[in-house]
């Protein structure tokens, strides 16, 4: 928040300065430096792609409408939005070397100038002709490249200052390295429990943000202000799995060490807490239900683990709960009950109470993510999840798998299991998911009724209620409001033939 405020102030000042001062300077050549573009580049490199894009759009729009304004409103917004997004994606270079960062910033600024010229040519802006571009573009790019390092450094310092501001206010004490050390020691187990130290660091709010110079470049400026001491403590916070990357508060911080991209697909375990280091301990339950959307994303998404767990909990509340209890260990090794972590709802699942399962409110925006115990999860999940292979790619995703599989085992005559197995494309955890959806849907119901439900992915609690109250007939008519052909094609294809592994075991029809 502080960062946002400080950024807005910085941008507003730069905008007015650009128009009233920089553009008046009698610089040789046709072009001139573009402070706004450079600021967008710097802020993008210091934050995430989304923030970069939003920042770029806002800045561009302001530049478009601030008098004298551009030829067409939206030109700068478009270009800066793209540049901010790209810089957000390139922010990984911050960790690598200062020179690379500077070069990246320069290149991004030059690309921005080129993009603007290209856009002008594309929309046939009469002010942008090829002859003009030839004169303006090189000089603008040179000016930008010359000024970028300084402006970049300024942005770093300002953002670090903003963060330190927030930290001091929040922590109520001087945020220097010693204080932190003391605090993490007080938190207990500084040497032994790296988790604890990571939590402390996280709570203190990104140390080391004081500048990238302090971090990768070599720490010349250490000690100038409190924040720069922090890098020493970083090792405790950067252990993989601490969730540095994911979080809103710290993503952009220049000095923040990040998970190396060498493990791209591996989701840190603690991330569900919103990316704060150690947050899984602190506040997992709150974020979990809120963020089922992440689950949908597919194999590479970070929060898959969450899904699995949430689903497991929710499903446990359904009629199949007992089955699971009966054979708790029958899931695939490594997948069963991984979800029984602090954040998971395993206890609720075991209790088998519907009321508990109800806590997982279905997210109306995302059918697949809903976790209403008896209805919505299995139905919709069957359609989507399987195809997305949610359960499959990760070890920790298998929570669901375990529960499901065991359940499926008890109800083998029921349809669900094979679906999952086939779809999972060879992954261990997939079984769980698919099996879950199928088996849940059919538990305790006549088979003939099942096809109706399959193609009507129930959204929200409505379906759940209907289900529970036994009014199944509604669903047949309720199908029409959902994109039936799509879901049916997927669902039907899969549920027609059930397999376990490669063996065909039967089918509905």
């Amino acid at each position: 928040m502080k960062r946002a405020l400080v950024s807005v102030v910085l941008l507003a000042v730069a905008l007015v300065l650009q128009l009233t001062f920089v553009n008046r300077l009698p610089l040789p050549g046709a072009g001139g430096p573009d402070l706004m573009l450079m600021l967008v580049v710097a802020l993008g490199l210091c934050s995430s792609p989304a923030i970069g894009a939003v920042t770029g759009f806002g800045v561009g729009l302001c530049l478009d409408i601030a008098p004298p304004g551009s030829y067409l409103i939206g030109e700068y917004a478009l270009v800066f939005c793209l540049i901010g997004y790209l810089c957000g994606r390139l922010r990984g270079v911050l960790n690598q070397s200062a020179v690379l960062t500077i070069v990246t910033a320069m290149a991004a600024a030059a690309v921005g100038e080129g993009l603007y010229a290209a856009l002008g040519l594309a929309v046939s802006d009469p002010q942008v002709s090829w002859r003009t571009v030839q004169q303006v573009l090189p000089t603008s790019a040179i000016y930008d490249a010359a000024v970028t390092p300084f402006l970049f450094y300024l942005v770093m310092r300002v953002l670090a200052w903003a963060d330190s501001l927030g930290r001091v206010v929040a922590a109520g004490q001087a945020a220097d390295g010693s204080a932190l050390l003391a605090r993490s020691g007080a938190g207990g187990a500084l040497p032994g429990a790296t988790m604890a130290s990571a939590t402390m660091l996280g709570g203190a709010g990104l140390l080391g943000g004081a500048g990238w110079l302090a971090g990768p470049v070599g720490g010349r400026s250490r000690g100038k202000n409190g924040g720069t001491h922090a890098p020493r403590l970083r090792p405790g916070a950067t252990r993989h799995g601490d969730g540095w990357v994911g979080g809103a508060p710290r993503t952009g911080l220049p000095g923040a060490p990040r998970l190396r991209p060498s493990r791209p697909g591996r989701p840190p375990r603690l991330r569900p807490g919103g990316g704060t280091a150690g947050s899984a301990v602190a506040r997992p339950p709150r974020t979990m239900p809120r963020s089922p959307a992440k689950l949908r994303i597919g194999p590479a998404s970070r929060r898959d683990g969450n899904l699995g767990r949430a689903l497991g909990g929710g499903l446990g509340g359904g009629p199949a709960g007992p089955a699971r209890l009966a054979r708790p260990g029958s899931g695939p090794p490594g997948s069963a009950f991984r979800g029984a972590r602090p954040g998971a709802r395993q206890p609720a699942a075991r209790s088998g109470a519907l009321s508990q399962g109800g806590r997982f409110r279905p997210d109306p925006r995302m059918p697949g993510g809903s976790s209403r115990p008896s209805v919505s999860v299995p139905r919709v999940a069957a359609a989507r999840r399987v195809s997305l292979r949610l359960g499959g790619t990760r070890r920790h995703d298998g929570v669901l798998g375990g529960g499901v599989l065991s359940r499926g085992g008890s109800q083998r005559s029921l349809a669900a299991r094979p679906v999952s197995l086939r779809l999972g494309s060879g992954r261990r955890g997939d079984n769980a998911l698919g099996g879950l959806s199928g088996s849940r849907g059919r538990l305790g119901r006549p088979r003939q009724a099942a096809p109706r439900f399959r193609s009507s992915p129930a959204l929200g609690g409505h379906s759940a209620l209907a289900r529970r109250s036994g009014k199944r007939a509604r669903f047949s008519s309720g199908r029409s409001w959902f994109p039936t052909p799509w879901s049916r094609s997927r669902l039907g294809g899969r549920s027609t033939v059930w397999r376990i592994g490669s063996k065909r075991t039967g089918g509905l029809r």
């Binding site: 989304a50 601030a66 004298p68 409103i73 002010q127």
Partner: protein
Amino acid sequence: MHDTRRTRVVLGALLVLALVLITFDYRDGSSGPAHGLRQLGGSVFGGAERVVATVAGPVAGFFDRGTGAGSGGQVAALQRQNLQLRAELSQAQLSKAQYGQLTRLLQLSGRGGYRIVAATVIAIGQGYARTVTLDAGSQDGIKPEETVINGQGLVGTVTSVSAQTCTVLLATDATSVVGVTLATDGQIGWVTGPGKTSSGSGLMRLQVLDANAGLRPGEQLVTSASVHDRPFVPGVPVGTISRVENRAGSLTAEALVRPFVNFTSLGVVGIVVAPPGHNPRFSVLPPAPPAPKKPHPVPTVTVTVTPGETTSPSPSPSASAGG
């Protein structure tokens, strides 16, 4: 945050929004949401620009005056008091310069009978546009499509007005077209701006309807009257022809025009709020420069030196002749 689907959705939404804005502005820039946005921007940023320009303008002007004199380094080396004095001196000189500009502006408007509102440039456009912002707006009676002049001649035309500021499209912008009349024979043509080029080569292009018009370098141009005197009032000096371009097969005679106004250092300008009662014709033009071609060639003196004698630097005849 990794590059999640949400991020992409945000990016896509913003890009689509930008394209929609461009489309709206392209279709009708003078009304609708685009116009509202510009008004909003003018009211939000215009005031800030006014304030900042009072500080930043003199500083920029100081650099402008001091270019090449190395004054920046000297100032940095001086003591605090000296710096202060120098700044005051610069301010005084700048005020003096502005005073001079205003005086010339008033003289010009008096000759032409224009009623003007004086204003100063507070912001300069970004990118490829040649636009400036003035610190006078609708509160001062400014309306769109009014002519802007300064002490030397035509500056441009007002394109949009907010409460306290207005935006001027300079005559050198690539989209600017000014109807002109040649001072001597009254031929009619139009001048288009060169767009944003390096400051030295900002020559405007003149096209005259009559393909057989005998354009000569040194001829002066004034604006011809527009309908209802918008966007250009008649009689404002535009520039002088610096080079005639003869293109075979061209339907119009073309020439390059050097504007009277120095567009790189605009200061005090005037917005013509009421046209003159009668067409001033060519009365506003500055006194005619000496004839474009000197009729009497300077005789060339050739000094012949025999190689045996002491070598003395022989004068270069061509340089002294001057053509």
